[in-house]
């Protein structure tokens, strides 16, 4: 989409504390635009924490303190005059458990759009277009086109997760953060959502947290390995899994950390 920048997300000396507990240490990352970057590491190493500081959802907890810089599209999102709502529009997030809103499929898709576009010039047909376009992009249209007015919560988990991705699209984000988006799904659902993520590559910069190394290997172009709040290694996925530079990375991908 926006090819003016090489990097979707860059961080400089990012440190984060939950109260007195430090969860992230000096994170320096350059995450490429229009690519899928996977973020792997053992449970508790700070993957979710990193993701949640990129869309500033962590700060809702009063006891979180952040130090350092996070730039999105080369702008510091923690700068003073930054509007949180605009940050969140640029950066969509997909959660571990699908969380469709308890309204119809159609309303789920239009929810974000209606939040941000206030003029009344949209007709029912325009809305239908938006819904169809988003659902087609997540490969869900054919399945749900006849049940758009049904509750989204009645869909299967796989379909719910696809819907959760679809409803981000009308807001036109550049970056999609995904926190273990397949871990609540069965293998078939996982494969389907992975396929979808792969389809979205290029148009969106995707940061994909996963504890499934096979998934990182299959579904990402670059890969970051984190351990205990630090970035250990960051390079092309194929390289990282074949010739890791660091001993810790090698140990992890050989399954020695669990």
């Amino acid at each position: 989409m926006n090819t003016a920048h090489d990097y979707a997300i860059t961080t400089e000396k990012l440190n984060l504390w939950y109260g007195s507990f430090q969860a992230l240490f000096d994170i320096d990352l350059n995450i490429r635009n229009g690519m899928i970057t996977s973020l792997i590491g053992p449970s508790g190493c700070g993957k979710s924490t990193f993701l949640r500081s990129v869309n500033r959802i962590n700060e809702r907890l009063g006891y979180v303190r952040i130090d350092g810089k996070i730039n999105v599209q080369e702008q510091n999102i923690y700068a003073e005059k930054v509007e949180l709502v605009q940050v969140r529009k640029q950066i969509g997030m997909v959660f571990q458990r699908p969380n469709p809103l308890p309204v119809s499929i159609k309303e789920n898709i239009l929810f974000g759009h209606k939040l941000h576009v206030k003029d009344k010039k949209y007709s029912a047909a325009d809305y239908n277009d938006i819904v169809e376009k988003s659902l087609r992009q997540v490969l869900l249209w054919d399945k749900v086109k006849d049940s758009l007015d049904q509750k989204a919560t009645a869909l299967s988990l796989e379909e719910q997760q696809k819907l959760c991705i679809a409803r981000l699209l009308p807001v036109k984000p550049n970056i999609l953060l995904m926190d273990e988006p397949c871990s609540a799904l069965d293998p078939k659902g996982t494969a389907a959502v992975e396929e979808l993520i792969w389809e979205l590559r290029g148009e969106y910069s995707i940061l994909l947290v996963t504890h499934n190394m096979a998934q990182a290997r299959r579904a990402s172009e670059e890969c970051i390995f984190m351990l205990m709040g630090k970035v250990i290694e960051h390079k092309e996925t194929s390289d990282l899994f074949v010739t890791p530079d660091k001993k810790e990375t090698a140990d992890y991908i050989e399954g020695r950390y669990g």
Binding site: I57, G62, V85, F95, P102, L115, H116
Partner: protein, 303 residues
């Protein structure tokens, strides 16, 4: 090898038959289920006895006329209309004040406020306010609304006293309904760039409304029966005319019941029972509405 499988097969019969311990456990289990059933029955016994007594002793006096005529002859005859109307006035006005205030406070505490010493003090105050006995509320109302604000003994003063009394319960029940809405819904909204208010307005409130309404209606039924808080602040012993505005005094069902059962001579025996029946009927009606509403709204939402 063969032999052991055969032996196992033979012993299968005894393996699945009843042991002495099974029998003993089953007996104990039976005993407890009967015991708990008895306790449950014991619980509904008073309700049945109260309702039964009221219907037997006062039921004969209940009629449309009884509901819609004034008491006459030193309150020994006639109906309960001014008291019924007065109770409706008092309760409606009280809720008109306490419900918006309480819901707003609950939304603030649940959705906006962060956890700090200030909100902790507010929470503590709410809990303590809920524990204040109603007679203390009555005296507070007398001092604050009747005397300090100069509303006199009036519907306004009595309703405000009732409002203060119901406020903490409205806050607590609303806050609980709000917090029962899964956090994931809020995160979903924030991540699409919704502001706090958009999130509350479009997702949290619609999903909490059944709980909030139920809480409010239960409050109505409780407020209906309160006597002490209105006795000093606005409810009259006997008024030969209906109130014309919120600065008038009014009769009220709960106080009327107290008056006809203890203060007035030569009251026919059935009258207090009939008044009590009207009061309890109102409360039960409210509760049924609340339950019906909750069931309806529960059916509407699914997650």
């Amino acid at each position: 090898m063969h032999k052991t499988t055969l032996e196992k097969a033979n012993s299968a019969e005894s393996m699945f038959s009843v042991s002495a311990l099974n029998v003993k456990n089953k007996k104990t289990q039976k005993l407890y289920s009967v015991l708990f059933l008895m306790m449950t029955l014991l619980l509904i016994l008073p309700v049945l006895v109260i309702l039964g007594t009221l219907i037997v002793k006062g039921g004969s006096m209940i009629s449309i006329d009884f509901l819609f005529t004034d008491p006459v002859n030193g309150m020994t005859e006639g109906g309960v209309f001014p008291a019924l109307l007065g109770t409706v006035w008092l309760v409606s006005l009280a809720l008109l004040v306490s419900v918006p205030l309480g819901i707003a406070a609950a939304i603030y505490l649940s959705e906006y406020a962060s956890d700090n010493w200030f909100t902790r003090i507010i929470n503590l105050a709410i809990i303590n306010l809920a524990g204040v006995p109603s007679i203390v509320h009555a005296l507070f109302g007398l001092g604050a609304f009747v005397m300090f604000f100069g509303f006199g003994t009036s519907i306004l003063a009595a309703s405000l006293t009732l409002a203060i009394m119901t406020l903490p319960v409205v806050i607590v029940s609303t806050r609980e309904s709000l917090q029962a809405v899964p956090h994931a819904f809020r995160e979903a909204c924030w991540n699409m760039g919704a502001t706090r208010w958009q999130t509350i307005r479009r997702v949290v409130l619609p999903n909490a409304v059944s709980g909030i309404l139920t809480g409010v209606i239960l409050e109505v039924s409780r407020t209906t029966g309160e006597t002490a808080p209105i006795m000093f602040t606005g409810a009259a012993f006997f008024l030969p005319f209906l109130p014309q505005g919120i600065f008038d005094q009014t009769m009220a069902l709960s106080l009327h019941l107290f008056v006809v059962s203890t203060q007035v001579p030569n009251v026919p025996e059935a009258l207090p029972y009939a008044v009590a029946l009207v009061l309890i009927g109102m409360v039960l009606l409210m509760n049924s509405v609340s339950i019906a509403l909750r069931m309806y709204l529960r059916g509407q939402k699914k997650w």
